[in-house]
């Protein structure tokens, strides 16, 4: 029984055997991430729905509570996330072009911006804590309705706004923390040269996740911070 050489097709080591080729694997992977993002849209959507209904019911109280948020920090954070989305896109592009050094730089920048966002969030929440705007036994929101200095804000309605504020920005911040963890891992892998023009799927899909979290904030910012700033 002579040994005959078995023909083995050369394929990218990252190709799993239940896929025909890298392209199909990449498309399936991308579709999977998009389906997950669809579930995330429904997840955040539920909270947005609750927020919109209560805002409709208690608009003046919500407007007063919203005005106590720091609009400068909120706008700054929006800009930080937008910049981080650019660095993510550029990191993926660098992988498509096979540039390892560039990938590492852009991923590192993304991490810095993500941490900056969380830092600013921490500052905002700390000031909320000091002003007794965190829902619970110590909650106290001293203000009058916008345009009506003689009418005080309803404490229950104001507390509702802040419950929604902390729930939504808290859930968003949790997603940011998870994103930072993922991108730390990606940075390490990219530095090791794991991502090539033929295979950079983890980078692409994590990028999709990051952009999604950015989009959630794009909607959170005007809805929470800019209810009524006219007065």
């Amino acid at each position: 029984m002579a040994d005959r050489p078995i023909a083995v097709e050369q394929h990218n080591p990252a190709l799993k055997h239940h896929f025909v080729d890298m392209e199909q694997q990449r498309e399936a992977s991308s579709l999977g991430m998009w389906l997950f993002l669809a579930t995330e849209i429904m997840f955040f959507g539920g909270m947005f729905c609750a927020y919109l209904i209560y805002r409709y019911w208690y608009f003046p109280d919500f407007a007063a509570a919203s005005s106590s948020l720091d609009i400068t920090l909120g706008t700054a954070n929006t800009a930080v996330l937008i910049c981080s989305s650019l660095t993510v896109v550029m990191a993926v592009r660098a992988a498509q072009l096979g540039k390892r050094q560039q990938q590492v730089v852009y991923l590192a920048l993304t991490l810095v911006l993500g941490l900056a966002f969380l830092g600013i969030k921490g500052i905002e929440w700390t000031s909320k804590f000091k002003e007794h705007h965190i829902p619970g036994p110590t909650f106290n929101f001293e203000a009058s309705l916008p345009g009506h200095p003689d009418q005080p804000v309803d404490q229950h309605h104001a507390q509702l706004f802040f419950s929604l504020y902390f729930a939504m920005t808290g859930m968003h911040a949790l997603h940011m923390i998870i994103g930072v963890a993922i991108f730390t891992y990606l940075l390490y892998r990219a530095w090791k040269g794991a991502y090539t023009p033929e295979y950079h799927t983890p980078l692409e899909n994590s990028g999709l996740y990051w952009h999604f979290v950015d989009i959630v904030w794009i909607y959170l910012f005007p809805l929470l911070y800019l209810i009524d700033r006219k007065k």
């Binding site: 991308s30 849209i41 429904m42 729905c49 937008i82 794009i218 800019l226 009524d228």
Partner: protein, 95 residues
């Protein structure tokens, strides 16, 4: 290969547009447009979201039709949730 490579100039243009729109959103909040303040803010937010989805997330450039189906479906169901809920609550008479 796989996804087309988006030119840097496009990415930078989108980034700058997003930043400008953010500034506009914040600025317009201080101008009295009555109920249209909310409308303007949400329209601008939607434009920003569209830019991110179509260009940064490559939905405009993908040849994979299923991705577009998933995105549109998700938005449709969200619209259903928000639309029908608000249609209910905002058309009630509160005593």
């Amino acid at each position: 290969m796989s996804e087309p490579i988006v030119p840097t100039i496009t990415n930078v243009a989108v980034w700058l547009t997003l930043l400008v729109l953010t500034g506009v959103t914040a600025g317009v909040a201080f101008i009295d447009l009555g109920p249209f303040n909310t409308v303007v803010a949400l329209v601008i937010a939607t434009v920003k979201a569209l830019l991110v989805v179509l260009i940064f997330m490559h939905v405009k450039y993908t040849s994979e039709k299923l991705v577009k189906v998933v995105v549109i479906s998700a938005i449709f169901f969200l619209a259903l949730l928000l639309g029908l809920s608000l249609a209910d609550y905002t058309t009630r008479l509160l005593m």
